[in-house]
């Protein structure tokens, strides 16, 4: 219908066409504007949440890109489980995680090559300052046995990450070492009919906050604990200290170009080489030193080369080496002098 009103008239059909054209142009324009910057090569690194939540990734990205301005590094932080899934589906170029069992499977299933250990720290158990069941000073295995015994009596609560993260894997391994079956513990109820083994299904900060609220015991990595303690979010205290059984080792693995079609193998190798370089190992050493008096993620290479603590080196090798090496030769590809 063309109506003659005062002033100019526009045929309705024309208006609709103009509207559609404008809409399409808008979408095309915004799409163009927001597409990935094409000038730099994008490396996608699938990583663990502890690097993310402590802010270390920002430091790593900034320094790496200063040294290699042709790259744009994107970190995708998910729990270790999902990080590995993402890499297996071909959506990342390398992984940076802390779960030796899963890492070994990643290599043997053909998804990864060139594994390099880059840093380590320790897990600790934390709990309420009252520590009513007195596990302070016990070894991790003894502590877990006591927690399980007291938990079922209603005297203690344990919070698990419950998310297949590296921390969760470590926790499960420790329960196994203590001779207890997590699948049974999960279903147990205290005398009040409520479970004593909670599964948070969340990141470390959220899990710590839950444990704090419930006056419960939990396992955490040192870095997350220090950071959350400093921000005043939790009042938990250390109950089981760092030791052989609570070692936490971070490693990087490049996605195997045979299965990964993203095509950034060389860039990924550059990143791994950077991680083990003196410059980056120093970054690890300094991160958190000022605020917490210790490095949140301790550099592996200086420890290995300096040999000042052979016991610790033995612990790491026993825990995180496969067949006597950090990366068996059948899973190495174009490594140059990476393993010299």
């Amino acid at each position: 219908m063309r109506t003659e009103k005062k002033g100019m008239t526009i045929n309705q059909r024309t208006m609709v066409i103009i509207g559609v054209v404008l809409a399409v142009a808008f979408v095309a324009g915004t799409w163009y504007m927001t597409r990935l910057p094409a000038t730099k090569e994008q490396i996608i690194i699938s990583t663990t949440t502890s690097f993310y939540e402590t802010g270390f990734l920002d430091v790593l990205k900034k320094n790496f890109e200063t040294k290699y301005p042709q790259y744009n590094v994107s970190f995708i932080s998910q729990g270790t489980g999902l990080a590995i899934e993402t890499a297996k589906k071909g959506n990342a170029d390398l992984i940076l995680v802390h779960d030796p069992i899963a890492e070994k499977a990643f290599l043997t299933d053909g998804y990864g090559v060139n594994r390099k250990i880059v840093a380590y720290n320790f897990f600790i158990f934390v709990g309420p300052s009252a520590d009513s069941i007195s596990i302070k000073g016990l070894s991790p295995v003894d502590a877990l046995k006591k927690i399980a015994a007291e938990g079922v009596k209603g005297n203690a609560i344990w919070v698990s990450r419950g998310d297949n993260s590296g921390t969760h894997s470590k926790e499960k391994a420790l329960w196994k070492l203590a001779g207890l079956d997590v699948t049974i513990l999960k279903d147990q109820k205290g005398p009040d009919g409520k479970p004593w083994y909670y599964e948070a299904g969340a990141g470390m900060t959220a899990t710590l906050q839950l444990a704090d609220q419930k006056n419960a015991y939990t396992i955490t990595d040192m870095a997350s604990f220090l950071k959350n303690l400093a921000s005043g979010l939790i009042k938990l205290v250390k109950v089981v200290e760092a030791g052989k059984d609570t070692l936490n080792v971070y490693a990087a693995i490049v996605c195997n170009p045979a299965k990964n079609t993203r095509g950034h193998f060389d860039a990924s190798m550059n990143f791994v080489k950077y991680l083990v370089s003196d410059e980056c190992q120093n970054l690890f050493k300094e991160f958190g030193f000022k605020e917490y008096g210790q490095a949140l993620f301790k550099p592996w290479l200086p420890l290995l080369k300096g040999n000042t603590d052979p016991t610790l080196i033995e612990w790491v090798k026993n825990y995180a080496y496969f067949d006597g090496t950090e990366c068996p030769t059948s899973y190495r590809l174009n490594v140059g002098d990476l393993y010299s």
Binding site: M1, T3, T9, V27, T34, R35, E53, S74, K89
Partner: protein, 242 residues
């Protein structure tokens, strides 16, 4: 102690807005980009579809309408997960390379809000008396012109559909997180930043960003509402025979 994070948040929000903090500006801008792209894309597909469904009478019409109504409330994280599997490199739409990009998030959000547009438009059109449709037809209007006339009558419902879609896309988290992964400088948006800051334990900043998100949504909605009722817009409608 308990009100502290919220009060800190309000103070911080004001500070961030006034000083024009670049990171906050960047993520807000990106949120606006994804949600506006999503709304326009969804409108291009959803409006015609909504009109067809609203005006038409066909077997299975109730089923189709119910289906769209149901999908209006689809959980964003589930849709995000489904699309993540689709857009993944080893998935059926992997060649499109949409994962971890802003256009990818926009496409996901568009899929999220299409049911809103279809559902609201169809309902608004149906609410108009059938007799109006018959009347307009007997006056000699073609199908297209009938649709335009009905649309004009149902404009209230349609504009509500568009505004609601934008609001939903702007404030959603699940799709931006699954398809974008909150990559700094590339796909980080307002909602994913709030999620990150909360995970890091920086509650003051999380509240601040939440207030900013609310402020943006409210301002936009007020502006659209007032423009829609203004004389200028009324003139524009008259001139185009609308």
């Amino acid at each position: 102690m308990s009100w502290q994070p919220i009060l800190d948040g309000m103070a911080q929000a004001a500070h961030l807005i006034v000083t024009g903090d670049p990171e906050v500006l960047e993520v807000t801008m990106r949120s606006l980009q994804t949600s506006s792209m999503a709304t326009v894309m969804a409108a291009l597909l959803g409006l015609p579809l909504g009109i067809l469904i609203g005006m038409g009478s066909f077997r299975g019409k109730t089923f189709v309408k119910t289906l769209f109504n149901a999908f209006v409330g689809i959980p964003t994280v589930s849709l995000g997960l489904f699309l993540w599997a689709m857009f993944s490199r080893d998935g059926p739409l992997g060649v499109l390379d949409l994962l971890y990009t802003v256009p990818g998030i926009a496409v996901g959000e568009a899929i999220l809000v299409i049911p809103i547009i279809v559902s609201f438009t169809a309902s608004a059109i149906e609410a108009k008396d059938e007799k109006l449709r018959d009347l307009v037809r007997t006056l000699g209007a073609s199908d297209f012109e009938t649709a335009m006339a009905i649309l004009r009558e149902a404009w209230g419902g349609v504009s509500l559909a568009l505004v609601s879609s934008f609001n939903r896309a702007f404030a959603e988290l699940g799709i931006a997180m699954m398809l974008g992964a909150n990559i700094r400088g590339i796909t980080r948006v307002l909602t994913t930043t709030i999620s990150l800051e909360t995970a890091k334990g920086d509650l003051g900043l999380s509240f601040a960003l939440s207030f900013i998100l609310l402020a943006v949504v409210l301002s936009l909605n007020f502006v659209v509402g007032y423009v829609g009722r203004s004389r200028w817009f009324g003139d524009l409608q008259a001139r185009s025979g609308w």
